[in-house]
Symmetry: D2
Subunit: 343 residues, 4 copies
C-alpha cells in the first residue's frame, strides 16, 4: 500500500471524523464520573430515543460492533435456542463465535437468500423444522437482520417488516445489526425510526462511519436494561472513562453527522461503481450503499493491486474484489483509483 490515499479496503481503515475528534478533545477537561455516569450519556440516550421514536429506549455504549451484536443477542436468546441470520451475516462470518460465547452456546441457523438478503420464504423454510424435535432440538430464539447487508445491498423498510412480522408471529424477538445503518437510511431515504420498527434491539454503528470506537446497543424498552448492564460488565465491555464513548456518540448524532458521513460514503461508492462498470467490472451484487462487490477484468486488477488497497476475495481470470468507500472518500480519490485502473 504505497499510497495510503487509495485505500478502499474497509471503512475500518478510515480515520476519525474531525467533529468526533474535536468532541473527544472537548470532553477532555477535568474529572467526570466513570462507567456511564458522565453528563453526556443521558443526552445520548435522549437523542436516540427521539431518533428511533422509542420513548422508553435504553442505551448501552460499547467499543466494538461484535460486542454490540453479541451482547444484544445474549439478551434475547437462551442457550437452547437458535438465532436466524443470513448465511453471510457478520454474526456468522466475522465474529469468531462471539455470539456463541456471549449467549452461552446458542446456535445460529443460517438463512439463505441471494445478495445477502433473506426472504420471507427462506426465513420460513429455515424456521420450519426448528422445534419439531421437542426437547432434543434447539428452539426458536431470535431473528437477526443486517442492513446494509454484508453484500452491500439493502432491505427496504417493507422487506424488513415482512421478516420481523414472521418472527413476531412466532414469538421471536428481533435484532437489527445496524453497523452501517446510517448508510442504509441515506440510501433508502428513510428515517431511522422507520428502519427500526419491528425490532426489539438495534446495534447502531458508529465506528465504521467516522467514530473511533463506539456502537450503541439500543433497547426498545427498559425491561432488560439492568441485565444488559451486568452482561456488558461481565463481558469486559464497560469503559471506565466512559465519557469518551458518550462524547463520540453525541458528536456523531449532532448536526446529522452520521447521515452526512454516510451520504459521502454512499456517493463515493456510486461514483466508483459507475466508473468500475465503465471499465468492464461486473457487479456481483447491486451496490446500494458504500460497498462494491465485483469481478474485475484481470488487466484492471493487475494495474491497480500494487498501488491501491482493496480485498481480492477470489482469485480468477476475473477476480472477485471488494471495494468499500468510507466517509472520507472524495471524487478525487475515486477518480485516482479509476485512472490507475484504466492504465
Amino acid at each position: 500500500m504505497s499510497d495510503p490515499g487509495l485505500n478502499f479496503a474497509s471503512d475500518n481503515a478510515a480515520p476519525v471524523a474531525a467533529p468526533i475528534m474535536e468532541a473527544l478533545v472537548a470532553a477532555n477537561t477535568g474529572p467526570a464520573m466513570p462507567y456511564g455516569a458522565d453528563p453526556w450519556m443521558p443526552q445520548v440516550r435522549d437523542r436516540l430515543r427521539d431518533l428511533f421514536a422509542w420513548p422508553e429506549a435504553e442505551v448501552l455504549l460499547v467499543a466494538t460492533g461484535t460486542g454490540a451484536n453479541a451482547l444484544a443477542l445474549a439478551g434475547l436468546v437462551a442457550p437452547w435456542q437458535t438465532i436466524f441470520a443470513h448465511r453471510i451475516s457478520h454474526i456468522e462470518e466475522d465474529e469468531c463465535a462471539a455470539p456463541e460465547f456471549y449467549t452461552g452456546g446458542a446456535k445460529l441457523t443460517l438463512v439463505e437468500g441471494a445478495h445477502g438478503r433473506m426472504s420471507p420464504d427462506t426465513l420460513r423454510a429455515a424456521m420450519a423444522p426448528v422445534g419439531a424435535k421437542g426437547v432434543h432440538g434447539v428452539q426458536l430464539g431470535a431473528l437477526s437482520l443486517t442492513n446494509v447487508t454484508e453484500a452491500g445491498t439493502l432491505y427496504t423498510v417493507e422487506e424488513m417488516r415482512a421478516l420481523t412480522d414472521i418472527a413476531r408471529a412466532a414469538g421471536m424477538p428481533r435484532h437489527l445489526d445496524g453497523a452501517r445503518l446510517a448508510n442504509a437510511c441515506v440510501a433508502l431515504d428513510r428515517d431511522v425510526a422507520d428502519m427500526v420498527q419491528g425490532f426489539d434491539v438495534v446495534s447502531f454503528g458508529g465506528t465504521k462511519n467516522g467514530c473511533m470506537a463506539v456502537e450503541a446497543i439500543v433497547l426498545k424498552d427498559g425491561a432488560r436494561y439492568q441485565e444488559m448492564q451486568f452482561r456488558r460488565k461481565r463481558g469486559a465491555q464497560l469503559w471506565s472513562k466512559h465519557r469518551y464513548l458518550s462524547a463520540q456518540m453525541l458528536a456523531y448524532l449532532r448536526d446529522d453527522l452520521w447521515l452526512v458521513n454516510a451520504r459521502r460514503a454512499n456517493d463515493a461508492a456510486r461514483h466508483l461503481a459507475n466508473g468500475l462498470r465503465a471499465i468492464g467490472a461486473e457487479m456481483v451484487h447491486e451496490p446500494q450503499a458504500n460497498m462494491i462487490f465485483c469481478r474485475l477484468p484481470r488487466t484492471v486488477h493487475d494495474r491497480a493491486r500494487t498501488q491501491a488497497a482493496y480485498y481480492m476475495m477470489e482469485e480468477s481470470d476475473r477476480p472477485l474484489c471488494r471495494f468499500v468507500c468510507d466517509f472520507t472518500k472524495t471524487d478525487v480519490e475515486v477518480e485516482a483509483l479509476l485512472a490507475l485502473m484504466r492504465g
Copy 2:
C-alpha cells in the same frame, strides 16, 4: 460534585493526558490498516519487550482492565482449575465474574492477607487442599497478584518473587494485574523489568494513569499468542480502528510518560495522606502509591462530603473513606481539599 476540581473518587474520573490526546490526533490522518495491522503496533510491542526485558514478548491491546485480566487468565487456566487471588483482588471483587465468563467457569480461590497482600503462608494454606480430591475438585490453575494492591499497598519485588516461586514450584503460571503497575514501579523505585520477573503474563494498565482506554496484555513469549488473538476477537475486544489503541500506548510509553504520570499521582497522594493524618485521619492501610484508605473524623467528613468527591466505604462515627489521586492532582488541589476538611 459541585466542584469537579475536587474529585478524588477514582483514577477513572481523570481526563486523558495531553500527550496521549495529542497522539490520538496525530494518528488521525489518512487510512491505516485495521485490527492491529497499523504501523504503530510493532513499535508498542518492541517498546514493551525492551521495558520488560522479555525479548520474545507478544502484546495484545484491549480497552478495559477487566478485559485484559479476563483474557490473560483465560489463556492460563482450564475451566476445571482455580486461580489463586487475594480476597479483595480486582478479579474477585470488581469484574462481575468476567474471569469466570472468559475462562469458561474456572474458580477463584481467595487468599487471605492483611492490607491486600497475600503472604507465602496464606498462599500455601490456600493451595494446600486443592487437588486432594482428585477429579472431584478443581485443580491448581494459576496465581494472580495485583501490584499496586487494591488496598493501595505494595508488594516488593522480593515479596512477589517469593509468591511466584511457590506457584512455579507447583507448576502454576503467574499473572500480574498491573492496572497500576506504573505507580508501583515509581513507589518502589524499581524497573518494570524487575517487577515482572517471575510472571508469564502481565496486564499492563494505561487507562487509570492517563490513557483514554488501553491496557496491554503482555505475554512473556509467543506460545499462546495465536490462541490469545482468537480469544480477544471472540471476546469482542478486538478494535477495528486499532491504531487508536496503539497510539495511546505508544504515547504512554514515550518519554516515560507512564512513570511521570504515576509519580505525580503518588506524590499527590503522599501529600494528601500527610495532610489527612494531620487532621485526625487514621490510615487503615499504609498508603504506598496513589490510594488512601482511612477513617475520617466525622466532622471532617461532614465538611468535605458535599463539595468533594470520594468514596465513603463504610458509614460510622469515623467513616471509612477512599481517596484516589490521579495523575492530574496538584498540590493546589490537595491543599484545597485539606482546607475544605479543616473548615
Copy 3:
C-alpha cells in the same frame, strides 16, 4: 482392600438395594416410550408431590448428584450472581466446578461455620458485601444448604428455616442439596415435607442410599419446568431409556424404602461411633447421620488400614479418618471392624 465386607469408604461403594434391582428387572419387559414418557414417571412425580406437600411440584430425574445440583442451581441464578454455600459444601469441593459450568460462570460465595453448618450470622456476614459494588461485583443469587452436611452433621428444621428466611428476605431462591436427605429425615425424625419448607428446589438423592444412579430435581412449582427440561437435555443428562430412572426412584419411595435404608445406615454409624469412641477415637464433628469424622489413635489406624477401607483425610499421630456407613452395614460388619481395630 482384601476384605470387601469391611468397606466404610463411601456410601457410593455400596451395591443397589434388592427392591430397586428387582424394580429394574420388573421394568424390563417390552417397549416403553423414552425420555420421560414412560408410565412410571407420573407416579414418581405424584409420590414426591405428596411427600414434599408440594402439590404443584415438577420433577426431573438424572443419574448423578452433581448433575442434580448443577442443573438445579443453573435454574436459579444468572451468571452475574453468586451462590451462598458452606465452605465444605459438595458443590464447592466435590463437583469440579460443575456448578460454574452449568450456570455459565456464576460464583460461589463460601460461608463459614463450624461442623459444616453455616449460621444466620455467618450467612449474613457473607451476604453483606455482595451487591455493594453495583455492576462491578456479582449480585445476590441463591442460597444452597446441604442436609446431612458434608461434615455428617445436621441442620434442624428450624435452623434451615432461619437461613432460608434470610435468603427469602433478600430476594434469593433457596436450594437444598439433599443427597443424604433421607438420613437427615430419619436422624431428625421429621417428615421430609417439614425439611423442604422454605426451599424452591431440592436435589433429592437416591444413589447414595440404595439406588443405582438416580437423583430427583424437585421443583416447588412448574414455573421453570420447561426451561429445566432444556437444561437437562443440553447438559446431556436426559436418559433415552428413562424408565430405568423412574423405576429406581419409584421403588426407592415405595414402602418407605428410602427411610428404611437411611435408618440402617444411621444405626450402623451410631453403633460404629460408639465403638470408635470406646477405643479412643476423638470425634471431630458430632456424627448425626451416617458419616463419622474422627481422629484415631495411631495404633488403631495401623491395625485397621490394610484390611478395611475408609478415607484417611489427614496423616498425623492421630490421623483424621472418615467412615461412612451405607444402608447395607450390619452390626456384624461394624463389630468386625471394631474387633480389627481393637487388635
Copy 4:
C-alpha cells in the same frame, strides 16, 4: 399404543437385553470402589483396545449418547473452531446444543449430502471458506461422522477413509458418532477395527442396542485422557456407582452380544423394509441397517397408526414415516405390523 409389542418408534423404546440385566444383577454384590475404580473397568478398556486395535486407547463411560458426543468433541476443538458435521447429524439436530455447551460455544458447520452422508466434495466445499477471514472467523476444528447415519444409511470403510483423510490433511482430528456402530459393522460385515481407522475418538454406543444406559468414549491414545476425566466430572457425567456402567459395557462386548443384537435389529429391518415395499411404501433412503424412512400409502398408515408406534415425520397423502427395529424385534412382530398394515 394399545399393543406395546408393535413399537417401532425408536431403539430407545426397547428394554435391556437379558445378558446385560443379568450382568447388572451379578455385579450387585458387596462393595466396589466408585468412580471408575471398580474391577470391571480395566476389562472394558482392554476389550475395547483389542476390538479397535488401538493398543493405547483409553475409555470413559457415560450414560447418554449426547454426553459421549459432547464430551468427545469438547476434547477436540477450541471454542473458536468449528465442527464439520452432516446437516442431519445427531449432534446438530438431536442434542439441544449440548456440543455447543460442552465446547464452550464452538460452531457446527453443516455439510450437505444426500441420504445423511457427506461426500468428499461436500466436505471440501464446507471447509473451503473456513479460515479465510483470519481471526474474524472460526477456524477448522474437527470432523464428525455418524455411522449408521441418521438416515439409516451407511458409509463404507473406504468412504469414511476418504473423508477422514481430507480432515487429517487439513490438520483436523476426527470423531465418529457410533451410537449405532454395531449395526454398521454387521451391515457392512467389517470389523470394528476397520471402521474406526482414521478416527481419533469414537462414541461407541450401547444404549440403543440393548444396554440400559452406557456409551463408551474411546480415545485412540492417552494424550487427553486426564483432561477428559475432568471434563466428564465437570459435566456431571461421572457415575459414583460406576460399576454399573462397567458391567453393562462388559456384558455388551462379551460373546459378541453387541453384534448379535445388531444383527437381529438389522435382519428385522430388512424383513420389514421388504414387506413395506410390497404394500406400496416408497423408501426415502435405502435402509441399510435398522432404520427405515419411507412414504406410506395413506390407507396403510391409517390402518396402522392407532395400533402401532412409529414416527410420522411429515403429514401428506403419502406420509413420511420412520420405523426403527431394535434388537428385540422378531419376524413375528414384523409380520404382525405388516398384517395390520395390509388390513
